[in-house]
C-alpha cells in the first residue's frame, strides 16, 4: 500500500486493517503521533487526513490510501501550523506534553478551516483529553494563534 505522508509517498507492507497510528509509529518510525487509548477517546493520535483532524488509532490504512496525510513531524512546514506552535510556546502550553502533538494538530486543522473561530468554535473543535489539565492554556493559545 502507498501512503502520502507529509507530501512524501511511502510504501507500507502491512495488513489493510492496521490502524494508521501504528503504520506511522512502527512501520515508518514517526513517533511524534502518540498512542493514548486506541479507541478514539483521547485524541493523542490526531493527524490530518485531507486537512480533517482524524484519530489515527481507529483509522485503518486502507481508508487513507490516496489521501494527503499530515503529521506533527511536518507541522512547521505549514504557515498555520507555525503560528499554532508559536502560540503554544508563548502560552507555555505543554506540561508532560504527551497529548500536545494531537492538540497542535487539532488546533491547526481548526484554524485552517476557520481562521477566526469563536470561543464556542474553539470549544467544539478542541476536544482532545489532557490529563495534565492544560485546557485553559490551550484555549488561550488557539485564540492567540487566530490573532497572529
Amino acid at each position: 500500500m502507498e501512503l502520502n505522508i507529509n507530501g512524501i509517498r511511502q510504501e507500507v507492507d502491512i495488513e489493510a486493517d492496521t490502524p494508521l497510528l501504528w503504520a506511522l509509529r512502527d512501520t515508518l518510525g514517526m513517533t511524534g503521533t502518540k498512542y493514548g487509548c486506541g479507541v478514539a477517546q483521547c485524541g493523542a493520535c490526531t493527524v490530518l487526513v485531507d486537512g480533517q483532524p482524524t484519530r489515527s488509532c481507529v483509522t485503518t490504512v486502507d481508508t487513507v490510501v490516496g489521501t494527503q496525510i499530515t503529521t506533527i513531524e511536518a507541522i512547521t512546514d505549514d504557515p498555520v501550523g507555525r503560528k499554532v506552535v508559536e502560540a503554544w510556546v508563548v502560552n507555555q502550553v505543554p506540561q508532560c506534553g504527551y497529548c500536545q502533538s494531537g492538540q497542535v494538530m487539532a488546533a491547526t486543522a481548526l484554524l485552517k478551516e476557520t481562521p477566526q473561530p469563536t470561543d464556542d468554535g474553539i470549544a467544539a473543535a478542541m476536544v482532545n483529553l489532557c490529563r495534565c489539565g492544560t485546557y485553559n492554556a490551550i484555549a488561550a493559545a488557539v485564540r492567540d494563534a487566530a490573532q497572529a
Binding site: 506540561q95 508532560c96 497542535v104 476536544v127 490529563r131 489539565g133 485553559n136
Partner: protein, 748 residues
C-alpha cells in the same frame, strides 16, 4: 549517547563541608562535543568513579552534574525526572543563577543511577513535591562552586588576581583590561583546578532567574512532537511485545488453546508465558497486540497464600461496606486535649461519615519498557520511572545480575501523578527483561491502555467517621476522626502494626484550626487492590473529608464557614493572610446562593490545606445543571514560602485543579467479581475541556521554608466544590465522585 567519564579521584570529603574535595575532574563531555577535562583510561575508570563517589556527598561533585560545552552552553544532569512539572527548568534556573549562565542555555537530561544523585538523604525519587525543596541549597552551591573554578582558571589564563574578575552570563570579565573569556574557552583548564573551599551565593535580591517566569526548556520540542518518551524509544534490531495479563492478579497462564495458530500469524516471532501474563513478540506492536489478544488463555486460580492475589469475589461496593462497618476508636495519630470529654460535655454533637473511591492515575502515556542485553553483560533499560536507583536494584534482581550492570535511561514522562514508582506488579520492565533474554534481541514492550487499567496501582479507598462538639455559641470545641483503610506509604515502605501510616491520615491530621480538643486515629483494613501514590497522596481525599466536615460543623453552629475559619486562624498570621488573600482574589467572600449573569444559580465553597510544605486556600464557584455539578471558577491562593518560577506554579496549580475537579466530579474505579469494570477512558471518564473551570492563582511568598508545588494545588479543590454544592443542594455531598448523585436544588 556515549558518555565518557572524566573523573579524577577525589580526596576525603566531610559531609558538612561539601566542597573540600581538593582535586577532581570538572567538565566532562557529551556526544558530539569536544572531550574536555581529564581523560581517565577506561580500565581504571570504575574504580576511580567509585572512589570519587564514596568521597563526595551527594549533590556536590560538579562533573556528575555539569558539563560545559565549547560553545559555553551547559549540559546538566538532573537528579529529578521531568514529567511536566517543570523541574528541568527549575534546575537550570537555580544552577544557572549561581553559575551565571542563562537557563535558556541549558540542556537538561535525567541523570543515570548513581550515589551523586541521592539528594534526599542518600536516596532519590521524584515525588512528594520534594524536588526543589530537597535540592535548592545544594544546587545553588553546586553552580557557585563551578563558577568559582571558572574564575580561577580565567585568572591564571589572564595572569590577573581572581579578585579583579567578575562574570557576565557565560563569560568571565576583566573590567580593568577590557578582556573577557567565554566559559567554553576555559572549561578544560577549570577541570584541573581545586574546587573552592567556600563559595559566596548571590543575594536573593539580585536574582535574575530564580523567582522569575523563565520560559520552560521543554516547550518547543513538546509542541512539535520531538520529545522522546519511553514509548518512543527505538533501538537497533528491536522487536515489539504485547501482553495479556491474568484478569485477576495472582493467576498464571494455564493452557493456550490456539497457540499454534497464533504463532504462525503474520509478523509473529514467538509466544511466551510470563509470570501472571502471556506475551507475543512480533515485528510491530500492532501485530503483537492483535496476536496476544487472540490467544485463548486458561488462567489458573492463584495458589493459596499468593501475596496480594485479587479475590474472585472482590467488589468495590463490598469493600466500601466493609470499611463502613469497621467500627472502633482506632490507633491514635494526633491528639490534643481530651476530645472524648469535650464531646460528652458539648452542647451539640455533629457526626458524619465520608468516603472516596479507588482511582487510577490515567497518565496519558501508557507504560512501556525497552530492554537490551549488551554483549558486555550489561542490561540497558529505557523505562518511565520516578526513582532510577530503585528500578535499577529491582531490575538487577529480575535479570539476576549485579545492579551496576543495569543501565537505566529515564526519559521524559508522559504524565506520572505517582504512577511510576517501583510497584512490582504494575511495571512492564520485568517482562521486557525476560523477553529480551529469551529471544536474544532488544524488546520494546508496550502495555495497551486496557492492560494499564488492569494493572495500574490505585489510590486507596477511604472512609472517615467524624464527630465534632460545639459549645452553646456554636464554636467547635472538639473534633474526633477515625480513618478506615490503608495508606500507600505503609504498603510500599513497610507498615508497623501499632503505628499509623501518616499517608492514611494526612489532611485529617495536621489541620491548622485552633480547636482545643482533637483526636485523629486510624483503623487499618487491608485494601485488596494494589494501591499506590496518587497526586497529593492521602491529602487528595483526606482534605475533602476534613474540610467538608468543617463546613458541616460551621453550619451546625450557624457560623459562616469563612468567618469561622478566620476566627480559628486568628493566631496564625500565615494562614490568616492566605485565607484573606483567596477571598480577595475572588472579589470578596460570598457564599451564595446568588444569580450569575447567565441566569444560573451559583454558590461558592471554601477549603484550606497544608500539603507538602505549602499552604493553600481554595474557593470554587459551582452551579447545578440537571442535578449534576458544574464548576465555573476556582481561585487558589498558594503560599510555598518562596518560589523559583511563578509561571510554572500557575500552570501546576491549573493542572492540580484539573485533576482535583476530575476526581471530585467523575472518577471512580469499580470492581465487580475481582475485575475492574473500566478498561479504558470510555468506562472511566476523566475531565474533558468543556468541564475545565477558569483558574485564578495568587502566589504568596511568606518567607517560610520552601514548600512543594506539583501536588499542593489539588487537595483543596474537591472540598471547595463540595462545600459549594452543599449551599445549593438539598443533600450534603459526603461521597465521591459527585456524579454518582443527582442533586436536588434547595428551594430559593
Amino acid at each position: 549517547m556515549n558518555q565518557i567519564h572524566t573523573d579524577v579521584p577525589g580526596n576525603a570529603a566531610s559531609h558538612d563541608k561539601p566542597f573540600n574535595i581538593s582535586r577532581r575532574g570538572f567538565l566532562g563531555t557529551v556526544a558530539g562535543a569536544l572531550v574536555l577535562g581529564v581523560a581517565v583510561p577506561g580500565a581504571i575508570r570504575p574504580a576511580l568513579a567509585q572512589a570519587a563517589a564514596a568521597a563526595a556527598a551527594p549533590g556536590t561533585r560538579v562533573p556528575a552534574f555539569i558539563e560545559i560545552r565549547p560553545d559555553s552552553t551547559v549540559f546538566f544532569r538532573s537528579a529529578f525526572i521531568e514529567g511536566g512539572q517543570g523541574i528541568f527548568t527549575a534546575m537550570a534556573q537555580i544552577v544557572g543563577e549561581e553559575l551565571d549562565v542563562d537557563p535558556a542555555n541549558f540542556v537538561v537530561e535525567a541523570a543515570p543511577p548513581g550515589p551523586d544523585y541521592g539528594l534526599i538523604g542518600g536516596y532519590r525519587f521524584t515525588g512528594g513535591s520534594f524536588s526543589v525543596r530537597s535540592s535548592y541549597d545544594l544546587m545553588r552551591k553546586l553552580g557557585a562552586s563551578a563558577r568559582g573554578m571558572l574564575l580561577q582558571a580565567a585568572a591564571e589564563r589572564l595572569s590577573v588576581p581572581v579578585a579583579e574578575l567578575s562574570t557576565e552570563p557565560g563569560r568571565v570579565m576583566h573590567a580593568a583590561s577590557g578582556r573577557s573569556l567565554a566559559y567554553g574557552e576555559i572549561a578544560e583548564a577549570a577541570a584541573r583546578l581545586p574546587v573552592p573551599e567556600t563559595v559566596t551565593l548571590r543575594e536573593p535580591k539580585d536574582f535574575r532567574w530564580i523567582g522569575k517566569p523563565v520560559e520552560r526548556l521543554d516547550i518547543r520540542a513538546k509542541s512539535t512532537g520531538k520529545t522522546q518518551y519511553a514509548i518512543d524509544t527505538k533501538v537497533e534490531n528491536m522487536l515489539y511485545a504485547a501482553v495479556q495479563h491474568s484478569p485477576r492478579l495472582g493467576g498464571e497462564p494455564g493452557s493456550l488453546a490456539n497457540e499454534a495458530e497464533v504463532k504462525v500469524r503474520k509478523g509473529v516471532h514467538s509466544v511466551h508465558r510470563l509470570p501472571g501474563a502471556v506475551a507475543v513478540v512480533a515485528d510491530s506492536w500492532w501485530r503483537a497486540r492483535m496476536a496476544v489478544e487472540a490467544l485463548q488463555v486458561t488462567w489458573t486460580e492463584p495458589a493459596a497464600g499468593t501475596a496480594h492475589a485479587m479475590p474472585a469475589d472482590f467488589s468495590s461496593a463490598g469493600h466500601m461496606e466493609k470499611l463502613k462497618a469497621t467500627t472502633g476508636d482506632g490507633v491514635v495519630f494526633e491528639e490534643q486535649g481530651d476530645a472524648a470529654a469535650a464531646l460528652s460535655s458539648a452542647a451539640k454533637v455533629v457526626e458524619a461519615t465520608y468516603d472516596a473511591p479507588h482511582l487510577v492515575h490515567g497518565q496519558l502515556e501508557p507504560p512501556s519498557a525497552v530492554a537490551r542485553w549488551n554483549e558486555d553483560g550489561t542490561l540497558e533499560l529505557w523505562i518511565p520511572n520516578q526513582a532510577p536507583e530503585m528500578f535499577q536494584g529491582d531490575a538487577a534482581k529480575v535479570a539476576d545480575i549485579a545492579p551496576e550492570k543495569v543501565i537505566i535511561h529515564s526519559p521524559m514522562l508522559g504524565g506520572f501523578f505517582g504512577r511510576h514508582f517501583l510497584y512490582q506488579s504494575a511495571n512492564p520492565y520485568p517482562q521486557a527483561i525476560l523477553l529480551a533474554k529469551a529471544i536474544g534481541r532488544p524488546i520494546k514492550l508496550v502495555w495497551s491502555r486496557e492492560e494499564e487499567f488492569l494493572r495500574d496501582t490505585l489510590r486507596p479507598m477511604g472512609v472517615v467517621r467524624f464527630r465534632a462538639g460545639l459549645d452553646q455559641d456554636g464554636n467547635p470545641t472538639a473534633v474526633s476522626a477515625v480513618a478506615v483503610g490503608e495508606g500507600a506509604t505503609g504498603r510500599w515502605f513497610g507498615r508497623q502494626p501499632d503505628k499509623v501510616d501518616s499517608s492514611a491520615v494526612e489532611g485529617i491530621a495536621g489541620k491548622i484550626y485552633a480547636i482545643p480538643n482533637k483526636r485523629i486515629a486510624q483503623i487499618h483494613v487491608d485494601d485488596p487492590a494494589i494501591i499506590g501514590f496518587w497526586r497529593s497522596v492521602g491529602h487528595s481525599m483526606n482534605d475533602f473529608f476534613s474540610e467538608t466536615f468543617f463546613d458541616e460543623m460551621a453550619d451546625a453552629g450557624r457560623k459562616d464557614p469563612y468567618e469561622l475559619r478566620l476566627e480559628l486562624l486568628k493566631d496564625s498570621a500565615r494562614h490568616h493572610t492566605l485565607l484573606q488573600a483567596v477571598a480577595e482574589l475572588s472579589g470578596g467572600w460570598k457564599r451564595g446562593p446568588f444569580a450569575a449573569e447567565d441566569g444560573t444559580r451559583r454558590a461558592r465553597g471554601l477549603a484550606m490545606a497544608s500539603p507538602f510544605g505549602s499552604e493553600v486556600a481554595t474557593i470554587a464557584e459551582v452551579s447545578l445543571s440537571d442535578g449534576q455539578v458544574v464548576v465555573h471558577d476556582v481561585w487558589v491562593a498558594i503560599d510555598p514560602g518562596s518560589i523559583v518560577n511563578p509561571r510554572v506554579i500557575e500552570h501546576q496549580v491549573n493542572s492540580a485543579v484539573a485533576l482535583g475537579v476530575s476526581s471530585a466530579l467523575l472518577e471512580e474505579v469499580v470492581y465487580i467479581d475481582g475485575l475492574p469494570q473500566a478498561r479504558n477512558y470510555d468506562g472511566y471518564p476523566i475531565l474533558t475541556p468543556d468541564m475545565m473551570p477558569r483558574v485564578h492563582v495568587r502566589i504568596i511568598e511568606s518567607g517560610a521554608p520552601i514548600g512543594g508545588i506539583g501536588e499542593p494545588g489539588l487537595p483543596g479543590v474537591p472540598p471547595a466544590i463540595a462545600n459549594a454544592v452543599a449551599v445549593l443542594a438539598t443533600e450534603r455531598p459526603r461521597s465521591l465522585p459527585l456524579s454518582k448523585t443527582t442533586f436536588e436544588e434547595k428551594k430559593a
